[in-house]
């Protein structure tokens, strides 16, 4: 039995959802079962994740110190020290994601946004709008006696004032070029809709949209681009209805103890980490997982 707060007590039915867990289910219900319910993942460092996590931390510290009025040089020195600490063990075997590219990207970020029209929001109580974890009630419950409602969680990188509007800033990094192709994927992104809904519900503020702040990391250069993505009220109604549908599907899989394999997703991107598990017969898959994977469950309720 799963023991995390993310599940209904004594069950493996997830109660607290985030975009990551819902996306994995949409990709493949069996992958969701292995990764989210059982909590398996491949051992070792994934450079994309590790470097991305470090990038989020150092830019958040830089923006925090800038919002506190420390100035560019002071903010940069402190966040570069953090970058050194976070890169001490390296990021795995990846020529793009190194200590050097992390430090260089940070300095170039400070230059690129030296006169930034997007200013980090500072709330009336002094809270700086950086690294904000949120959670809200989805307004519906599973078909179980006395069960509380489902909830949606997430983590906002930055809330910022731009013009007269409030925006969620979502940081992404990539090695791809920063063209229309990259930004097109956020046009219908559930993550974007979830952020806009959260900002309206949790922060009780009208929101202009989400600014995707993309960082392209190359071996010898770092480039930046930002683009705003907007959502009207009807989009959010659709997002809520779709979220309800997908959670209903998860509930159905839970009640029938059946997590079908979506073979269309096996080879997407770099390929599903569980391909070699699914390639085994059903009787030997558990052994394959115990032998080659480690337990490290993704938990949306964990605040950063």
């Amino acid at each position: 039995m799963a023991e995390s707060e993310q599940f209904f007590p004594g069950t493996t039915l997830q109660r607290h959802y985030d975009n990551t867990s819902l996306s994995i289910f949409k990709e493949c219900p069996r992958k969701y079962y292995y990764a989210i319910i059982e909590g398996w993942r491949s051992p070792g460092k994934v450079a994309t994740l590790e470097w991305g996590k470090a990038w989020h931390e150092v830019t958040a510290l830089y923006d925090l110190r800038m919002a506190e009025g420390l100035g560019v040089e002071g903010s940069l020195l402190e966040s570069m020290r953090l970058a050194f600490e976070l890169s001490q063990e390296g990021f795995g075997d990846d020529s793009y994601r190194t200590r050097n590219t992390l430090l260089r990207s940070l300095v170039w970020y400070s230059e690129q946004f030296a006169n930034d029209p997007i200013q980090t929001t500072i709330f009336d109580n002094g809270t700086v709008g950086l690294e904000l974890s949120f959670r809200f009630d989805l307004g519906f419950a599973p078909r179980m006696a006395d069960a509380p409602n489902y909830a949606y969680c997430g983590h906002i990188d930055k809330l910022a004032d731009y013009g007269n509007s409030l925006y969620v800033v979502e940081r992404k990094h990539t090695t791809q070029s920063l063209g229309d192709h990259l930004f097109a994927r956020y046009m219908f992104s559930s993550q974007v809709s979830g952020y806009v809904a959260a900002a309206k519900i949790v922060f009780d503020r009208e929101i202009g949209g989400v600014i995707i702040e993309a960082t392209q990391v190359q071996v010898n250069a770092t480039n930046f681009a930002r683009r705003a993505v907007h959502r009207v009220h009807d989009h959010l109604e659709e997002w809520l209805a779709d979220t309800r549908f997908w959670i209903g599907q998860i509930e159905h899989c839970f009640h029938t103890a059946s997590w079908p394999h979506n073979t269309e997703s096996c080879s997407k991107y770099a390929g599903c980490q569980f391909r070699k598990v699914c390639a085994k017969g059903p009787a030997t898959r558990a052994l394959e997982l115990e032998t080659y994977f480690v337990k490290d469950r993704w938990d949306p309720t964990k605040e950063r």
Binding site: E73, L77, M80, F84, E85, R99, L103
Partner: protein, 90 residues
């Protein structure tokens, strides 16, 4: 790490802070800073890195501007049916 050359941060700083934007710093010296443990870094060394990365960005920007100018020149030359080489621009 032990095979790396020890450098004087002062000397490095002087070299990197030089006014010549085309000055290329000793990559081994910069590698020596990058190879350091986080707890052993001085502010001086961090500043050296900051200056170096700023210079790299300036060089990258001027390369981009030059590339863009050359692209425009090539388009104009092409419109007149001549090459940049024949104009002595390459």
């Amino acid at each position: 790490m032990s095979s790396r050359r020890e450098v004087s941060p002062k000397g490095l700083r002087e070299m990197l802070m030089s006014e010549d934007p085309t000055a290329i710093p000793d990559p081994l010296a910069l590698d020596a800073i990058l190879a350091k443990h986080a707890t052993a870094l001085t502010d001086e060394e961090l500043l050296v890195l900051v200056q170096q990365y700023r210079k790299e960005r300036e060089r990258a920007s001027s390369r981009l501007v030059k590339k863009s100018e050359m692209t425009k020149a090539a388009e104009r030359a092409d419109a007149f049916g001549v090459s940049l080489e024949s104009l002595g621009l390459l």
